[in-house]
């Protein structure tokens, strides 16, 4: 009896499980129908969107082709306006680039030795900037870049001088031609651009300047880095003026 009951329960269980597994594995006809309807609607919508996009893309291709044509025409006209002048102008810019590349690779010592070349490169850049072709944006950009590189080299030179790594020299000219005295030398824009700094040159050259009122043509004076006068330099200045006053008093008692 128990056996029969157990058997009947097993049969019920098997039936339930079978039904459940069938339900999970395969979709029903209704689900299929629903999925087909949804997918068909989606497919129709996507086809319509794709067609619309395709049309837009075709239009854009046509627009792009028109722009390319217009750009080519403009470039040709610009080239015709530049005529034969473009090649020599570009050659000038290339030469400036080459010189800047060379100067950029130099050591501080070598850069200092060839510092005069920076002025010539500056002249080339200025001349190129006056060329009519320099108004063209790509050349303007190139000239700007070159100027910026040159300014960098000039700054490096200033730093070399300021650090005292290299001390520039100045060869004294004649009074008749150059009006060279310590005051005037310090006043020169390329020296200190400030005549009141003359004691700096004096103190930097004590070995060859005994009296700051007397310097000789051909003397090579070291030019210390530009800075405010030091305590020693101020002391020397006071002493100089004191001696001058004493001398003046002796001459005109």
């Amino acid at each position: 009896m128990k056996y029969v009951i157990r058997l009947s329960l097993i049969v019920i269980l098997v039936g339930a499980v079978t039904c459940l597994s069938f339900t999970q594995e395969k979709m029903s006809k209704e689900d299929w129908q629903e999925a087909i309807t949804k997918l068909t609607a989606k497919s129709t919508e996507l086809k319509s969107k794709l067609d619309s996009l395709q049309k837009e893309v075709t239009d854009l291709h046509a627009q792009e082709a028109t722009k390319v044509q217009a750009l080519k025409q403009c470039s040709d006209e610009l080239a015709a306006m530049q005529g034969q002048q473009e090649a020599p102008f570009v050659a000038k810019l290339d030469a400036i680039d080459a010189r800047l590349n060379e100067l950029s690779k130099l050591s501080n010592q070598d850069l200092w030795a060839r510092r005069a070349e920076l002025d010539s490169v500056q002249k080339w850049i200025n001349i190129a900037g006056q060329d009519p072709l320099s108004v063209i944006q790509k050349y303007q950009d190139r000239l700007k870049d070159q100027q910026s590189r040159l300014d960098g080299l000039k700054k490096t030179l200033e730093q070399i001088i300021a650090s005292g790594e290299i001390m520039p020299t100045y060869t004294v000219g004649t009074w008749a031609r150059n009006r060279d005295c310590l005051w005037n030398i310090a006043k020169k824009p390329k020296i200190y651009d400030n005549p009141f700094l003359w004691p700096k040159i004096w103190q930097g050259n004590r070995d060859q300047i005994k009296n700051p009122d007397v310097i000789h043509p051909g003397q090579k004076l070291k030019i210390p880095p530009k800075a405010d006068l030091t305590k020693e330099e101020n002391r020397a200045l006071r002493s100089y003026w004191s001696k001058r006053r004493e001398k003046a008093a002796a001459v005109n008692p």
């Binding site: 009947s8 049969v11 098997v14 039936g15 627009q63 750009l71």
Partner: protein
């Protein structure tokens, strides 16, 4: 003695019923149709993504060409003025 038999009969009916009830499924052809439709939708979605990407590239390229054209026109005018000034 009747109860167990009744249970067996109920069980058998459930098994048969479940087979009959669950057997209302789409045919293989219908499932193939569904799968084909799914593939088509996927392909359409890919096509749309490709076109959208192409459209974006084209818009970018057109904007670049516009900028280049504007610059070229500006250069032309500036050069013309400068050349006239030089003459």
């Amino acid at each position: 003695m009747k109860k167990p038999f009744a249970l067996i009969i109920i069980g058998c009916m459930m098994v048969i019923g479940s087979f009959v009830g669950c057997s209302s499924k789409p045919s293989n052809e219908e499932m193939q149709q569904l799968n084909d439709l799914k593939t088509e939708v996927t392909s359409l979605e890919k096509g749309i993504a490709a076109r959208e990407s192409e459209k974006a590239d084209l818009l970018k390229s057109i904007a670049e060409k516009d900028a280049q054209l504007a610059q070229c026109t500006k250069d032309k005018q500036a050069l013309q003025q400068r050349l006239q000034g030089v003459k």
